[in-house]
Structure formats: structure tokens, C-alpha cells
Symmetry: C2
Amino acid sequence: MMEADLIAWIRGRLPEHPRLRLGPGDDAAILAWANRPDCVVTTDLLADGVHFDLAEHAAARVGRKTLAVNLSDLAAMAARPHSAVVSLLLPRDGAHQLAVDLYEGLLPLAEEFYLPIAGGDVNTWDGPLVVSVTLLGQLTDRGPLLRGGARVGDQILVTGSLGGSMLGHHLDFTPRIEEALELHRHYRLHAGMDISDGLALDLSRMTTESGCGAELDVGAIPIADAAWEMAGAADTETALRHALSDGEDFELLLAVPPGEAQRLLSEQPIDVPVSCIGHFVDRPGLWRTDDRGDLVPLAATGYQH
Amino acid sequence: MMEADLIAWIRGRLPEHPRLRLGPGDDAAILAWANRPDCVVTTDLLADGVHFDLAEHAAARVGRKTLAVNLSDLAAMAARPHSAVVSLLLPRDGAHQLAVDLYEGLLPLAEEFYLPIAGGDVNTWDGPLVVSVTLLGQLTDRGPLLRGGARVGDQILVTGSLGGSMLGHHLDFTPRIEEALELHRHYRLHAGMDISDGLALDLSRMTTESGCGAELDVGAIPIADAAWEMAGAADTETALRHALSDGEDFELLLAVPPGEAQRLLSEQPIDVPVSCIGHFVDRPGLWRTDDRGDLVPLAATGYQH
């Protein structure tokens, strides 16, 4: 939670600026470029031992991840990837090979999204690997998909399935760029974000930004095979906890008005399933129905930076 | 030199892309945004113990420097600062206060250049401080100022004075944004870059990119007071070596056609002095005249990453 306090301090300290159409706080910032308010910027700095473990994971998969997490932030805004810069701070021993391996993982993903790497910075030092990626994205004429637009009565939709990402998904996931653009183009979405820190925690952020609460139908949450694998097939409560709290699912979390949600759910217009897992309510906080049918609070658990 | 090899490998590995108008290799990359080829992006990742020393330098000065070095890269392209993202990887102990101190140094410089901070990433870990800054800049209708445009006969001009920056200038320098814009607007400049790794090394890069050589009038090189202080007032050779090789001067190095250079030198249109320190020649490499009037090679010394 230290970072949360710090980020709050930074947000408060930053002056307003006409070129800054949306400042820190959402999945990415929005800049005006030549008076067009369509430039999205996002950045993530990842370090060995914090966000990945080179002792355990191949460098190519790590390189891919450093780009993929940023692409997921653009997906969360419904922005098209425009360009990237990549900076490496490499441990001195084996620096060259490590850099080559990182790029060999990162570049195929960049090519998949037709994304040019515009450059970056390369240094060596005596510490662990640090990778900083900054992405520019361009909004479509549908505008941005923000966190703060959910309204009471909206359905809560998610793409794909959740939980257990540490078994591999956190390295190999596909950023939901195409899915976000497709859904944003054809449906009226009130709010959206990506699930990076856990469904419960990220949903609580969406409710806070939107000034409402959420009631989850926990039985409808799509639990990933990996979460079942971690929990044991019979242990629904544990599997559910993984789906609610593990994070790094990098799926889309959406607030959609009821009629529009019904249309979307019946059309299932993207390659990955879309599920309805609850709805937004007036009462602040997260809620679930217990075995007796009573509403009980649901903890906003997840990955706290 | 490891980084040089690696950067060459990365440059060779990156595919061309219509949105990438100028890829890695100059002071910054140029991107096309909505078909306008005026978007400049640059990034630097700086680490404690490599680029600065928190045991020796106040965090506010370090924070200022992390932004200033990026602004200097925009100056080198004659671009106006547009927006910035700043990522921090903070040592766990005292992380909050350190971040506040860094921002208290960085924000006044951002305000001086009317530059919005659009966001970033904040994490803590057990390692030393790492700061990544990415800047967007916008070119004027005069276009970019590149390294590769020097022609035989052009005069070599520098702003300010050189050498001894480790006595404090490397932290407190003013990025030559206004100066670069002013000179680029009113004079025909063939090439330009900032002096970050030492006059001799950076000039050798400009000659390589331009396909020519350079003959330095070493007696005309403006030596900074700090370089004299480090050398001792009587030791001209040592002071000169500092001016040639220390780096982190963050002054402008320009190639200007002779008539235009004479006009610029007599008008002295910016607040800081502009000096002529030699001219570009056909013969590759760096050259100086020795005591007997003979041309001798000058080593391309400087800070090798």
C-alpha cells in the first residue's frame, strides 16, 4: 500500500496541463497531440525478482511479458498500439546474450501487433535485470474506454477465464487489444479496464472510480483450468479465491448496460468467451450472496504493489 | 563498448515501419502521428551507482537530472518538449521520502519547460534506485536537427563551455531547448547533437554519421572553469583533456555552413556564448594541428557506455 499512498501524493502534486487530457489513475494517460485528444501513453518498469524470475523463466518469455503488460494497458483503454520504446538495465555478466534473448521474445509480439520499436536505452550494471517499456497508443473515433463510467444496473462482464496465472499465463497471455477494439466498436461499453492485480481488487477500483458498488455472482465467475489445478478439482472455494485474487489474468473487465450486455453475451463476437459475473449496485463496496441468499461483503483482495 | 555492439545488433534487428520515420541512432527517434512526421521520442534509464550516486548527491538534484538529460536529447533534435512519463523503482527503505525528494527536484524543471508529467510506474524492491524517463517532443516546421548532415567546409560550433562537469554541472545544467529552437529557427544548421559523452567522442559520431572528418582548433575550445579547477590553472593540456573527454556537458554541437556560421558568431543570438572550434574536412577521423603546424590524429576519447 506504500505505492498507493505515493501514487496519490504524486497525482495530487502534478499540476493540470491542457496537453494532459487524462492524468495518472486510469490504465493509461491521454495526451493531446496537435490538438487531437487521441494519444494514449502507458509505461511499466519491471525488475527481476519483483515481476519475474530469470532463474525460473526463460529470458525470451520475460521479454515478451514486458511488452505484453503494456499492450494490455492499451487494450484497457481501447487504444491501437502505435509505437514503443524499450530500455534495458542488464547485469554485466552475460548482458549481450540476455538482451538478445529478451528481444527475441519481445519482437514477435511487436510484429503481431504491427508495432514499431522506436528505440530505447541500454546500460549494464552490477544489479539484476530491469526493463522499462513505454507504449504510445492511438484512440479510435469511439474515444477512450475509462474506469469511471460504470452505472448502477450495468452488467459486469469479463473475457476469458481467471486465476492461476502463475502457472504460465502471466508470461504467455495474449493482450486483449483486438478484443477490446472489437467490443468497443460494436457495443456501448460504459467502463473498462484490464485485470492485472486480481478481479476483486480491480473491480473495487472500478467501483470507486465510478462511485458505485458491485454485486458478484461468484458462481458465474469463469475459473481458469490453472486455478483448478492449483486448488484441486474438488475445492471450489479455493479455485474461486484464485480467480478473485491471483491477478495477472490480463483479461478485460467491462461495465455494460443491461440490454447491450444481453446482445453481447448472445452474440459472443470475439474468439474468447465473454461472461456476465454480476452487476453494479448503488451500495458502495463489493458484495456476494452467501449460501442463505444474504448479501455479504467480499474482500477486495489481490496483488497490492 | 559492449553496449555499442548490442545497440548495433538491436538496430539491425528492428524491422522498418512506416510510422518510424527515424529509428534508433540519433539523439531521439521520430514517429509519424496521424501522418504528421513531427513526434520525437527519447528515453533514458538511470541507476544509482551508474549514472549518479545518492550517497553523494541530494535526491532532488538526481530527480532533476533524470529529466534534464532527456530534455537535452530533445534539444539535440530541436524539438519542443511535449510530455513525459516517469517510472521509479525505489529501494524499500525510505522509499516514500526518496520519491517525494526526486519529484521535488524534477517538477520545477518540468514547470520551467511547461511540460506535463502524464504518469508512470512506481515500485519498490531490495535494489538501488532506478529511474526511467520517457519524453515526447514536437518538431517545429523547420524539421529535425540530425547528426548526419555535416558537410566538408562546415564550421564546428559549440554552445557554452566544456569539461569538469563532475564538479556539479552534470546535475545542475540547463538543457539547451530554447537555445536549440532559437538557433534552428534563425540559422541554417546542417547537423546538431548534444555533448553527453565528451566533445571528442560525440564529434567523432557526428563525422561518422555525416561521412566526413573534423579538424579541431583546440586553442579555440571553450574550457569550463570547472575543468581549469580540476586541472590546475597552469595546466592547459589537462584542462583541454577534460574539455574533450569528460562528457555530461549537455551543450550543443553544431555543423553550420561558413557564411551562416560567421553571421551566427557575430550576432551571438542566445544567452550563452557560441564558439567556433574547427571545421569539417574530407579526410575521415578527428584531427588537430600540433606545435609544428602538422595535422595529427586526435583520439575520440569520452565516456564509453
